[in-house]
Symmetry: C2
Subunit: 312 residues, 2 copies
């Protein structure tokens, strides 16, 4: 067996060291990453993917931690991809918050991976989806994608999940800001975290009002607002039950396939666009661009004519 | 003169109605938008571009408002492109905060434009840069790009400016979160807003410590931390002076050209990649993808082989 085959075999038998290796290949866009993903593809589609998103400071990683405990407590396996730049998972070493990560990371049925948010050649979204595919193929029952709910790429990532959980906190204007940031449009479940704080009921009511203003979901799902206190692990079981309820609803109505088909379509388009870029920007084209920049800076040439000539 | 020529002429003579029209064409990626931008290109490069970024709630739009007053007070012209989904500029209608926008918007030498943050076909960054080009060509002395400092695309946008101002507030962990989000790496100037709040001095000291940990900037610029109280319009003049100081530093050292050359390179690459996508995804290729999705969903085919075959 060659190196790639060993990796694929290792992922399929859920060997953590091999999973970590495969994820690194995917994240670094190594030459064999596509081959690995291709071989894993037929083993994907079994895990339910949960997107957890919301503004910085909403307590997303604490909720993720709590969900991990609930899921593993039921004997199920869970993988986590954390792409939130403000998450202690992603920046654990910086915040000295690695203990929390370890606490979950040492559990048998858990695999946590953080992913860099910047400088991804192929697009962050593509790499995150591929990382989820690796965890999915390894036999995880659930894959959690934790991402900050501000920014275009980050919302796109959250939307690759089967169930999108939007986490807010009772702060004045938080619901309105979330609406403006596009969070309201992608939520399947709302969580009002830190709900022991003053004003929680008012914010929950505002969210409910905003939900009522939305056109009803095409699949007939009713969006709920759950209250949690992440730091005291309150409401995590209820959140998990609501996720399962949504999962069963998607399965019963056939909308799980509809949703996954749309996600797959986006994924294929991303892959094609990536390939187009890589094929195009060979050494000679990069050099040609480099040699013309000075002329453009001094307005002897305009970039539009250049683009026309190089792609025409 | 045809429609496009009239628009170009209107922008060059700073007619606000024509500027608004040209910006809409750019934002909507109308068929003639490239032609407009091409004709405007030789008139760009005169405005100094200021990126204002930071976490939601840091008071970026209040600072932007204050800067507008300072700049116009000196008889200079300023354009603003607001792409922050949490900004009252962008979401003005929602927050009922349009008064502030109007207050500045009615001034003679000001042009404010908000841009949608989602669903941009050609990439948000490309469209924002093009919008700035329109304002630049219209004879603005300064162009401010206001964007939220969370998310990959948003940081990329801030980085297209000549001078990047990162706004933070004295909240526990704000500096550390900013560092993790990549804000520390792109700042030319730090602003600690709401600096009348408790703990401001400690946060300012932390930021200074983090700055000292960074390798010195290649152009020899020393990053300063300024304190402001946006709501009381305190520190705005000092911020403007620091921006001018940075601008003069870039000009004196020749790094303004270096920086703009790098930005232009990124812009051309974005334009080419956009063209590659548009050229590739014609009707027949879209239909081919559509017809194969079901086979992929049922694992009879894998997306990697499909991508290989369609791009090979």
């Amino acid at each position: 067996m060659n190196d790639t085959e060993l990796l694929v075999k290792g992922v399929l038998s859920a060997e953590k060291r091999m999973m970590a290796k495969a994820l690194s290949r995917v994240e670094n866009e190594s030459p064999d990453s596509e081959l690995i993903l291709q071989k894993l593809f037929s083993h994907t589609g079994k895990a339910h993917r949960i997107g957890i998103t919301g503004p910085p400071g909403a307590g997303k990683s604490t909720l993720t931690n709590n969900l991990i405990k609930v899921i593993t407590g039921k004997g199920k396996k869970v993988g986590v991809i954390a792409v939130d730049p403000t998450s202690p998972f992603t920046g654990g070493a910086l915040l000295g918050d690695r203990i929390r990560m370890q606490e979950s990371g040492l559990l048998e049925n858990v695999f946590i991976r953080s992913m860099a948010t910047r400088g991804s050649l192929g697009g962050l979204c593509k790499n995150v989806v591929e990382a989820c595919d690796v965890l999915d193929a390894s036999g995880m029952d659930f894959v959690i994608i934790e991402t900050v709910g501000v920014g275009q790429s980050e919302l796109d990532i959250a939307q690759t999940a089967d169930t999108v959980v939007v986490v807010l906190v009772p702060e004045s204007g938080d619901a309105v800001q979330a609406m403006k940031a596009g969070l309201m449009e992608i939520a399947d479940i709302f969580v009002l975290n830190k709900s022991e704080r003053e004003g929680a009921d008012a914010v929950a009511a505002t969210i409910k009002n905003i939900i009522h203003l939305k056109p009803p979901s095409e699949d007939g799902w009713i969006i709920n607002v759950l209250k949690t206190v992440g730091s005291r692990n309150e409401g995590s079981e209820e959140l998990f039950q609501e996720i399962v309820k949504h999962m069963e609803h998607l399965e019963a109505t056939g909308y799980l396939q509809t949703r996954r088909k749309r996600h797959l379509e986006n994924k294929v388009i991303d892959m094609v666009n990536y390939r187009l870029r890589v094929n195009f920007w060979d050494k000679s084209r990069k050099e040609m661009l480099e040699s013309r920049l000075d002329r453009m800076i001094s307005k002897q040439e305009d970039p539009y004519s250049f683009v026309e000539s190089i792609t025409g």
